[in-house]
């Protein structure tokens, strides 16, 4: 199901103006198969995605040092991620340093919409790739301005499958589902709901016009992830947006508080050495 079927490739990734590359691509030696030699067995026991995990850990450390709240937004295409972000930015702009990393296979249309809403945006085009990975985010961070104490939204490629498997180093993964989709999506794509902390149910202004059972949807999501939080909202009408903005602000305050505590502990350690 993952990248095997959707043709995920890495050769075409473009991060903003910069051409994406893997560090180890410079070392592609085409080793010819050699006959002979003694064969031996090696117990490896290593996670296949351990390289992504390493990049994600580096990103997470960077975000913590900058007291930056990074949120990874995942959903199917058309759930209203970008509209939700522009509505969110309008409510937060001027209050905190804020930037958006936009992941799409092609075009910078979403980044342009974010910039029009007043935030810094960096577009990553993944080419045939169906998800962002932690290495791309690390490169994107080098191009973004200082966001200390602020917010970073990462809008993942519209896809409910592959982004579930790739940790980007974010503080929280947020899955967005709109009421124009089926209420049984959590059961059809369980992994993404299992790996998310918050479910945003978008476009609730359309509920009277669609057959979407809100309670059933939440029940399905909690079968997969009993601890998932749920906020219902409409980016278009503004209903429920204050709950979402409060959720973000609470997490951002917590992150700042954690960083302040860590720095105070460090200061005490250093003072003891005076």
């Amino acid at each position: 199901m993952m990248c095997g079927v959707c043709g995920c490739g890495e050769g075409e990734v473009q991060v903003g103006s910069m051409t994406g590359h893997r560090h180890d691509e410079h070392q592609h030696h085409h080793e010819p198969p050699q006959a002979g030699g003694a064969s031996r067995r090696l117990q490896v026991e290593q996670d296949i995605l351990s390289d992504n995990a390493g990049y994600a850990a580096a990103n997470r450390e960077l975000f913590e040092q900058q007291a930056l709240l990074a949120l990874n937004l995942v959903s199917s295409p058309g759930s209203g991620k970008t509209s939700l972000l522009t509505a969110t930015i309008t409510r937060l702009s001027g209050q905190v340093p804020l930037a958006v990393i936009e992941g799409d296979q092609q075009t910078s249309r979403d980044a342009e919409r974010i910039r029009a809403a007043g935030a810094t945006a960096l577009q990553i085009n993944t080419g045939k790739g169906c998800h962002l990975d932690a290495h791309m985010i690390g490169h994107a961070m080098q191009q973004l301005p200082n966001l200390q104490g602020g917010l970073l939204f990462i809008e993942n490629v519209g896809n409910l499958v592959c982004p579930a498997g790739f940790d980007l180093g974010e503080a929280h993964r947020i899955v967005i589902l709109s009421v124009t989709e089926g209420d049984d999506k959590p059961l059809k794509y369980p992994d993404i709901f299992h790996h998310s902390d918050l479910l945003l149910i978008n476009k609730i202004d359309l509920l009277p016009h669609v057959d979407f059972d809100l309670n059933a949807c939440i029940d399905y999501a909690r079968r997969i992830n009993p601890d998932i939080e749920v906020i219902q909202l409409s980016a278009r009408s503004g209903e429920g947006m204050e709950n979402w903005v409060d959720w973000i602000n609470q997490r951002r305050q917590q992150r700042l508080q954690q960083r302040i505590s860590a720095l105070q502990a460090e200061a005490i350690r250093l003072e003891s050495l005076l």
């Binding site: 199901m1 993952m2 990248c3 095997g4 079927v5 043709g7 995920c8 490739g9 890495e10 893997r22 180890d24 070392q27 085409h30 080793e31 198969p33 050699q34 002979g36 030699g37 003694a38 064969s39 031996r40 067995r41 090696l42 117990q43 490896v44 026991e45 290593q46 996670d47 296949i48 995605l49 351990s50 390289d51 992504n52 790739g129 990975d133 499958v161 592959c162 579930a164 498997g165 959590p186 059961l187 369980p190 992994d191 709901f193 299992h194 399905y220 909690r222 079968r223 997969i224 009993p226």
Partner: protein, 110 residues
């Protein structure tokens, strides 16, 4: 495909650390809940191996049974999906113990 490419990267790294030049056989552990279509991975693996130290390597995929422990009643049991209910008490609070792994288990090298 990116999974297959990650495996090749892992093999290259192992080749440097463990001093081998060629990979003849790869054993993977891919759990049934790991979101990987095994047949697609086989196809992509063969393609990704071309022109590398693992060209022509045999591939075996071991898929251990998915098992979970109920956090409500503590019973351990086999599961088939992320949204199974506990077969003993009906709770959905099941903690997966194994079955979502994606691991390079063993290699035969020279």
């Amino acid at each position: 495909m990116s999974i297959a490419e990650s495996i090749i990267r892992l093999l290259r790294q192992q080749a440097q650390e463990q001093h081998f030049r060629r990979v003849k056989h790869v054993w993977l552990q891919i759990g049934p809940l790991a979101m990987v279509e095994i047949e697609s991975l086989r196809f992509c693996f063969t393609a990704a191996c071309r022109g590398t130290l693992a060209e022509g390597a045999a591939l075996d995929i071991i898929s251990p049974e998915a098992r979970a422990r109920c956090q409500q009643c503590g019973e351990e049991q086999p599961v088939t999906s992320r949204f199974d209910a506990c077969i003993h008490c009906g709770s959905y609070r099941l903690q997966l113990l194994q079955g979502d792994e994606m691991r390079v288990h063993e290699l035969e090298v020279e």
